[in-house]
């Protein structure tokens, strides 16, 4: 069995999701779940996370059937992390109804031997202290990216700032970018981040897509337009999983590879939101991905015309 070429450290969870058209408790979720399911189509992901004794066998099987290595999925005494959220009628805003950390409260990530040399590493949105702890266990990955959120920007800013020089890319939402940097202008926010370490800032704008700013380029990544969206949960993690797995598959972090990978992340995210939970990602084919990438290219194609 080949070692993973992309390791994600994050959450595996059960989500209770309420949308105007459908509500369900205990939907398979968590950042590492969405990330790794998306990534499984292009790379060999390995997951580092913790679940409780209530974590369902068929969910373990689902991940394994996608070639996702679970050596790093610890089972601890107690219940799996649970999160509940309710979306507004636009599916644009959501309220967190509850967060029960459960076994995640004591999570202390241990990177299995087979994962330590993985060249691509994604530190999903967890405590920056744990993100440091993961990095300390890994042997100089080629590309490390990290996601974060308002909670850590407020509560663990020092730790987060100490992390920035150690990573290649920071993923965050536009509102979080403002909170972290004090800049409302996205380019200025990205420059602020770059000045503190990461060569690349990926600022996510939800339904409006994302922008990728690296030292030598700015790439606008509009969202793929869909006739209907079922559930936006996990779209950001799926975007990151699609992007990181494309880099891992190419084994290339050049400016053009970053563009291509961000486009792939957008394509993956567009599939994710088509169904409730992560299940559209689970039943995706390479041909569907290739076809949607062609449509995505067409979405932003500017023809040459002479005026």
């Amino acid at each position: 069995m080949q070692s993973p070429n992309l390791v994600v450290v994050g959450s595996v969870a059960y989500d209770s999701i309420e949308t105007p058209s459908r509500s369900e408790p205990d939907v398979l979720g968590g950042s590492a779940t969405y990330f790794s399911l998306a990534a499984s189509h292009l790379a060999r992901p390995g997951v580092v996370a913790v679940v409780g004794q209530d974590f369902r066998k068929d969910h373990v099987t689902l991940l394994q059937d996608h070639g996702i290595r679970l050596d790093g999925l610890e089972t601890a005494a107690g219940e799996t992390f649970r999160w509940g959220g309710r979306y507004d009628k636009d599916l644009k805003e959501r309220d967190t109804l509850f967060t029960h950390l459960n076994v995640f409260a004591q999570f202390s990530p241990r990177i299995p031997q087979a994962f330590r040399d993985a060249p691509y590493l994604f530190l999903a949105n967890i405590d920056p202290d744990l993100q440091h702890q993961v990095l300390d266990q890994c042997t100089s990955p080629r590309w490390v990216a990290c996601d974060t959120m308002n909670f850590w920007i407020t509560g663990k800013l020092d730790s987060l700032l100490r992390l920035l020089p150690k990573i290649d890319a920071l993923f965050l939402n536009d509102s979080e970018a403002f909170e972290l940097t004090g800049h409302r202008n996205l380019l200025q926010a990205a420059r602020w981040i770059q000045a503190r370490g990461p060569a690349t800032a990926v600022i996510k704008k939800g339904e409006h897509g994302a922008i990728l700013v690296s030292r030598d380029q700015v790439f606008a990544v509009p969202a793929f337009l869909l006739d209907s969206v079922a559930d936006p949960t996990g779209a950001g993690d799926t975007f990151a999983g699609g992007m990181a797995s494309a880099l891992a598959a190419l084994d290339d972090t050049s400016p053009d590879a970053l563009r291509y990978a961000a486009a792939m992340g957008t394509v993956m995210a567009s599939f994710c939101v088509e169904d409730f939970g992560p299940f559209r990602l689970a039943r995706l084919t390479r041909e569907e991905i290739a076809q949607r990438l062609r449509r995505y290219r067409e979405l932003t194609r500017i023809p040459e015309m002479s005026l």
Copy 2:
């Protein structure tokens, strides 16, 4: 003197603009001003509007110096239309402080003889009854587009709906698209509009750009990213002016021409917001436009890579 190939009917106004960094009264403004200044770089625009006796000579000269035909600019007894607005600290939201229609209240557009055969026609955001009145005076333009706003969607819906079968493209904001169609999903909103006549719907999303939906294609138009924005006033009209003038210059309304033109509209809008009022548009060169269009192409370029 050649006849205009692009006629705009809209407002010429004095705006009082308040931004966090600068406030000024009586800044040259109005939809037809922004539109025609943008359009003057690519096409031969003609303006149909009304101003009061207070309208400054140097502003007439400014427009004329850009080759803008003012045969349709009527001077009426009274004051020029005045609008006042205040932007929030993000320059994303704005409050209207006052609207004094002044001479615009009695505006009854008369299309000069030299304008009636113009192949491209833009009905800026005015009373739909007046938009009908303009159309009745024109001899089958090749492409007619119309902008509208919440005020008319609420107050003159019947007239607006009767206009739709007569036009080729409807321009409106995302919130207006929802108000008009009842659809929060932009593709569904665009299909609703298309079912009522216009082959093309252009839904503007402010800082996030726009989408163009025509019968055979969907084109995402992300905004050009700027390090700083001085004043968003007129960006939508400038976008429309850039787009319509590119179509007029190409004399082509094919799907590819619409894409190219929308990109050009975005480029023009990016210049517009760099300065207070419409003055950046007034001092723009063809070389600056060409250079920014190249940068805009690069902003969304997805390289070919093989996975």
